[in-house]
Amino acid sequence: MKTLLLVLLTSFAAFAGEALTGEVEKQALNMSAIIMFLIFVGATLGITYWAAKRTKTAKDFYTAGGGITGLQNGMAIAGDYMSAASFLGISALVYAKGYDGLIYSIGFLVGWPIILFMVAEQLRNLGKYTFADVASYRLRQTPIRTLAAFGSIVTVILYLIAQMVGAGKLIQLLFGLEYEVAVILVGVLMILYVTFGGMLATTWVQIIKAFLLLSGATFMAVAVMAHYNFNFESLFAKAVELKGTIDIMAPGGLVSDPISAISLGIALMFGTAGLPHILMRFFTVSDAKEARKSVFYATGFIGYFYILTFIIGFGATVMVFQNPEYLDAAKHAINGGYPILGGDNMAAIHLSHAVGGDFFLGFISAVAFATILAVVSGLTLAGASAISHDLYASVLRAGRVDGMMEMKVSKISTVVLGLVSIYLGIAFEGQNIAFMVGLAFAIAASANFPILFLSMFWSKLTTRGALVGGSFGLLTAAVLVVLGPTVWVDVLKNSEAIFPYKYPALFSVGAAFIGIWFFSITDNSESAAKEREAFEAQNIRSQTGIGADGAVEH
């Protein structure tokens, strides 16, 4: 299982596919890609202008007015979730290791049904703008909102750093731009989308990106399969022949350690259900029915996408691997083997060239860039909402603030977050950021998810329990990641990890649930009794939507 972990999370695509961290080399300026990218930017800025005119209230800003349909939201969720790094990283993993890439991608999908069965509808019925609305529904506002906002902001920033660094490298790779230029460009565009167009612009950027990414990937997969008469056996046979080993068709040399396997599974499943930018998407639809339809569509799109990346990875194996056109001759001369230009992360990009020529290469490169923009915009909006809605409006001003002022604070927070992420993106260039997405998922699973989940389903939850247990989960996750192999050994260069597992979720999620349970049931305060009493009314609203503001513009 150590090997599984190595395979899953190694050097280039740790927590994978999500943080693009391998070494990259700047490529020559790619004109067709740049032109197509400019078309995308032009179109999305047009949408932002259109959205800005429709974004008048705080509700418009945070939730696009609540009028997004289930299908649109499902597509936007997919656009929010399928990052460029997962497109390139997972296809690179399949290219390099075969079957292990599939195992890896499956982990990122299975959290979705859980979101549907456990949180999507309840979230829509109880919340307004952020998941902290739900977590603090019947608990004391100040402590719970502060904790939830803190959990959100930490998750968002870790995720943003990983995306920004990945973006810088990717754009260097695809467009031949300087790293700093790329990071600043991404940061500025995302600030523009979010500040002016709010959730409406963000949603449409995500929908368009998802459509482009799915279309491009479909074309590549079909082109590959057409070469093999749509016969998987022939495709796999050719791949096995070229790679010279059948090992790519089975889980890589993996052994025991089920603890790590389960812990990773928990982080992915419950982490997905605790990501603030994902949870926020459920407030954009009119009611519980549309919320549940969103997850159904999103699961379909994301699952379909992972099947495509698997085919694309194998396609790259048969069409890019050993192809002299994509061989890095300099590296080949030194180390032998068949290294491809730009490294394994370029497998899907080279494949796009192999099946569709320069034009399609430009298209896929532009799509990869668009993908980054869509993901960072969603993250920034979620982070800004935690600051303006939870910390500013609810905690600092105790709810006594008008919507315009709150929206203004949100826009300022967006700009600040954007600048911070540009700064961090540049500061972390060349750093080992492989652990960051892993840490983001661990914190989402250990702090955000337990509080959210228990606040909706467990009547005996009290403020004290949520606060103590949630903090436990957050700290345990952070400390164990630092003491574990990914930071203690890989980043801090110690020889042996103090905590042996890469994934702390099994322990930190456990700590959170036990902490919340213990400090809730032993809470005999008067306020705790009131909070328990309030569960019934909350549950009625949670189950039926009675009282939820369902104002929609149909």
Binding site: Y99, I103, V110, L116, E233, A237, G265, R292, K293, G300
Partner: protein
């Protein structure tokens, strides 16, 4: 929400049925998903060779391919099963509860 309203709804047989049925259904599907996924992961951890078995004699395609794709499809199918029942049965119950709550 007023206390009388809370008392009325919580004793509404439709509400009791909705909560009981939905939570049973949601938990069942959740457990099915957990078993499928963690079953898959544990097979990889304990017996990786199993998934490397050729699908038929002489083929390079292994059992792991349909199993892996099957896990992806199962996630989608499970969400479909939930949505189908929720869109009809659960939404009807909810509509009845809402109508009664409004009528009084």
């Amino acid at each position: 929400m007023k206390q009388e309203m809370v008392d009325m709804i919580k004793n509404d047989p439709d509400y009791i049925k909705l909560v009981a049925e939905r939570s049973k259904f949601a938990w069942t599907l959740t457990i099915v998903m957990l078993i499928i996924y963690f079953g898959f992961v544990l097979v990889i951890a304990f017996d990786p060779k199993l998934l490397g078995t050729p699908l038929s004699a002489g083929s390079v395609t292994t059992v792991g391919i349909p199993v892996g794709i099957g896990v992806i499809i199962s996630a989608f199918v499970l969400t479909g099963i939930y949505v189908r029942r929720a869109n009809s049965e659960f939404d009807e119950l909810t509509a009845r509860i809402k109508a009664k709550a409004k009528g009084e």
